[in-house]
């Protein structure tokens, strides 16, 4: 994504940024105040708005699978623009907006629609930066964490362990039986946004059961073999749950930024449109 085609889109975006900075530096705005309403302001604003509308088109484009394959063989040019091109360009031109749009503002900010549009854009870009990080970092961590299992595999193993433990505790004391029953019936993986992103459960019933069984196992017991067996099953379940929760956390992190990126992009489209109309409405 980042090194795609030997940084082709990075170079284009860098060129745009460099040109914008030099133009801003050379530009002597009339009346001494850099402003979106100078000729350079209009130019940077037009480029920035164009890039924003084009970048949001990625949301449509990425859903149209195989578009370049349709044209294959018939039209060489169509063949050239792959989704990877889009994503790579999306990243670099999105980053370039930080400079282009900031220069467009002339560093004039206020509590108004215009700065709202700017702020939304910055948040969208920052969330996108996190997205790039997440897509680079988390797939590897997920693979390491899963060790060949899928989340469903892990949950199935947890359910099997629950069943097995229930057989063992059937003849055990009420405390242990209740704790293991609760561990089976109330343990959960993920849940709300917060639980998914936390990647752990501080009040996990399985952990509580394991702690209880450990305590009991320290005292003399007439069925120590069963107790040890139960403990080892609980530890295995806990370990599976830990990995399952990490897995949920990673996938949540890989998606959570889109919950900022996409809705705020829509907000940005509204604000940007209102911004463009309003500045010419009150010209």
């Amino acid at each position: 994504m980042l090194v795609y085609r030997n940084f082709r889109y990075f170079k284009w975006a860098a060129l745009l940024v460099l040109a914008s900075v030099i133009a801003y530096w050379l530009h002597q705005p009339f009346a001494g105040v850099p402003n979106g309403g100078t000729w350079l302001g209009y130019v940077l604003g037009t480029i920035g708005a164009g890039i924003i509308f084009w970048l949001t088109y990625l949301g449509i484009r990425k859903r149209r699978y195989g578009i370049h394959r349709e044209g294959a063989g018939k039209d060489k040019r169509k063949d050239g623009i792959k989704l990877e091109d889009w994503v790579s360009a999306h990243i670099y031109f999105g980053l370039s907006l930080i400079i282009v749009a900031t220069l467009h503002t002339g560093f004039q900010f206020g509590w108004n629609l215009h700065t709202l549009a700017y702020a939304l854009m910055i948040i969208v870009i920052v969330s996108g930066i996190f997205g790039v990080y997440a897509y680079i970092r988390y797939p590897q961590l997920m693979t390491e964490n899963r060790r060949g299992l899928t989340l469903n595999n892990m949950l199935a193993q947890v359910a099997d362990l629950d069943k097995e433990m229930r057989g063992i505790t059937m003849s055990m004391g009420e405390n242990i039986n209740a704790a293991v029953l609760r561990a089976a019936q109330e343990t959960r993986v993920g849940g709300s946004f917060g639980r998914m992103l936390a990647g752990q459960d501080a009040s996990c019933p399985t952990t509580a059961a394991r702690v209880l069984v450990e305590q009991v196992a320290h005292q003399p017991h007439d069925d120590e073999a069963a107790l040890r067996r139960l403990l080892s099953l609980l530890v295995r379940k806990e370990e599976l749950l830990r990995r399952a929760r990490r897995d949920v956390q990673f996938s949540a992190l890989m998606q959570i930024w889109l919950f900022v990126h996409v809705p705020l992009s829509f907000g940005l489209l509204a604000a940007l449109t209102a911004h463009i109309v309003s500045v010419f409405f009150y010209w």
Partner: protein, 595 residues
């Protein structure tokens, strides 16, 4: 006790199977434990959950402590059971049946709440998909889009469209609308300039039509008196007819005045003014620090004809005001003699030069206010109360004549050269006619002597230039003509420089002549001894051009006006001709120091 237990097992397809067995024990225990008479293999059941026992009066069920036992829906710890009672034992339900033959008691037993599938339930509890929580991306996206479009687009738009057009009077009211009625403030692109803030939330005051740039009419409705830059009949190229007000006056750039200060704008013509206005008789200037011509003060060159000329400081202009005034003598550090004080009085600049209110310029120095207390205009030692009136030479001569006539007729004039009649003791018998004639003849001759001499002409000539007449007594005083401001094209604000000592700029202490043009010329803040001749460098010591790094950055309009006083209004009839004889030269009136 013998009881009959009928286990009911419901099949998945709807069938029901019964597995009956009989139990015989003194007390029948129900529980998860293997030692219970009726085994209930479910983790939700206690090891020993409840006991059924026949006692006096019937069959009772006794719940173990903390066991979940209900009888006909109500929680119970011990209860007598009758036929038809339903007893809940955790997930099991026990129903008391009519005992068959040979049995004391009969129940049916059914697992009414079986355990669910572990995996299914775990999956149900767990939520691993972030997009299944909350509204999802789509909901948030459309929601945010709608909220922003409504609040930041439609609301201000509706506010504008439902509002009556603003006129000048409504703007002048300056009352605030409040946020709800002025929601188009959300569109404010930048803070409005300070002077416009009082009507700042009435956007439509300037933005009269949508999608049209602000028109000059909006500005002129208040600023109708703004004047042209030049005489547009002589210099039509500088009429700025193609520009609008907002070409230069950019609003919404913060609280500072919406005034164009760029010296480049001025320099675009004034770098080569001979090309655009050869007849203007102006010198080129682009930057005060680096490229500004020498000052050319407008000085009086002929006090009689009141002639003014603009002469470069390089040509050492002289102010021919008709006055003689040695600043150095008055500013003598040892003081000057005064008629009132025994010791010499030390004078300083402020004794005579008093700032006008506002502090830009100084009040005009006048004889009455500033000179008279020392310069008494006496002419006769024996009549010190007699003084020449100032400013009216003819009356002064008459005053001298009157004084001597009066003294001659009264007598008592004490001088050996005077005739007896003049020297006699006053108040004796009246004079005879020949005596009167003698006395008046003396008075006439004494007056003429005084007028032509040291205490008449000489007294005036101490400060004034005298124009001699045909006879020694017919001289006249040349009226003083002082340029109120030497630099008439720019404005210098003394008030802004009040913390700088006068002597830092003005070399009055070393000036022995009123002809000296005491414009700034010294090295700033240096001692009096290092004074240089008046020169623009005196200002440039502190002030540089617009982009000066280590001096006060001063742009053209720091000193010069763009809309020059005395020119016709700029926008009302900008192509109309100038009124004949409109004032241009502002030397005597001093123009207006302020815009």
């Amino acid at each position: 006790m013998k009881i009959f237990v009928s286990n009911i097992v419901r099949k998945a397809r709807g069938g029901v199977a019964y597995r009956d067995n009989a139990v015989d024990a003194p007390a029948v225990r129900f529980g998860r434990g293997a030692d219970c008479e009726v085994h209930l293999p479910d983790p939700r059941v206690l090891l020993k959950h409840a006991t059924l026992e026949a006692r006096a009066g019937g069959v009772f069920i006794d719940a173990s402590p903390s066991a979940e036992v209900t009888v006909n829906g109500a929680a119970a710890t011990a209860a007598k059971l009758n036929v038809g009672d339903k007893v809940g034992l955790g997930p099991y339900q026990l129903e008391v049946l009519a005992p068959p033959e040979g049995q004391e008691f009969a129940v049916s037993l059914e697992l009414v709440r079986p355990l669910g599938d572990d995996l299914d339930e775990l999956k149900q509890r767990s939520s691993a998909r972030i997009d299944r929580v909350g509204f999802g991306k789509r909901g948030w996206s459309y929601g945010l889009f709608a909220v922003i479009a409504l609040v930041f687009f439609l609301w201000p738009l509706v506010t504008f469209l439902t509002r009556p057009a603003a006129d000048h009077a409504s703007l002048m009211q300056g009352d605030s609308r409040g946020f709800i009625a002025a929601s188009d403030k959300l569109w404010l692109s930048g803070e409005i300039s300070g002077p416009h803030k009082f009507f700042g939330d009435k956007c439509e005051g300037c933005h009269q039509s949508s999608f049209v740039q602000v028109k000059d009419e909006a500005c002129i409705s208040c600023h109708e008196k703004v004047t042209h830059h030049v005489d547009v009949v002589k210099f039509p190229d500088a009429s700025f007819a193609a520009e609008s007000c907002q070409s230069c006056h950019k609003e919404h750039n913060g609280v500072r005045e919406a005034v164009l200060r760029d010296q480049n704008f001025c320099a675009s013509c004034h770098a080569t003014i001979e090309k655009t206005a050869a007849a203007a008789n102006l010198l080129n200037a682009t930057d005060f620090g680096r490229d500004h011509p020498q000052f050319r003060p407008t000085v009086v060159t002929d006090p009689v004809a009141k002639k003014l000329e603009r002469i470069s400081l390089d040509s050492k202009p002289k102010e021919m005001s008709g006055l003689k005034f040695p600043h150095d003598k008055h500013l003598n550090p040892n003081g000057v003699r005064s008629p009132d004080a025994a010791k010499p009085v030390v004078m300083n600049c402020e004794n005579c030069h008093v700032p006008e209110s506002g502090g830009v310029l100084f009040k005009q120095v006048s004889f009455e206010a500033n000179c008279q207390s020392c310069h008494l205009l006496q002419f006769e030692a024996q009549a010190p109360e007699r003084r020449m009136p100032h400013g009216k030479p003819a009356e002064a001569l008459q005053a001298i004549k009157d004084a001597y006539s009066s003294m001659a007729l009264r007598g008592g004039y004490n001088a050996p050269t005077a005739p007896e009649v003049v020297r006699r003791r006053p108040g004796l018998q009246p004079l005879t006619a020949p005596e009167r004639l003698e006395a008046l003849a003396w008075a006439d001759s004494k007056a003429n002597e005084t007028i032509a001499g040291h205490f008449g002409k000489g007294r005036c000539a101490e400060c004034h230039v005298i124009s001699e007449g045909a006879t020694p007594t017919t001289w006249d005083v040349v009226p003083a003509t002082v340029a109120k401001r030497w630099l008439t094209k720019g404005q210098f604000d003394h008030g802004k420089h009040r913390d700088v000592a006068c002597e830092s700029c003005h070399g009055a202490r070393n000036s022995s002549s009123a002809q000296d043009v005491l414009l700034p010329g010294m090295k700033a803040m240096k001692s009096v001894d290092t004074l240089a001749a008046p020169d623009i460098k005196g200002c440039q010591d502190c002030h540089g051009g617009e982009r000066a790094a280590n001096k006060v950055p001063s742009t053209c309009i720091s000193c010069h006006q763009f809309h020059v006083d005395g020119m016709p209004p700029m926008r009302k009839g900008k192509s109309a001709s100038l009124p004949v004889g409109h004032p241009v030269n502002v030397a005597f009136t001093g123009g207006s120091a302020r815009q």
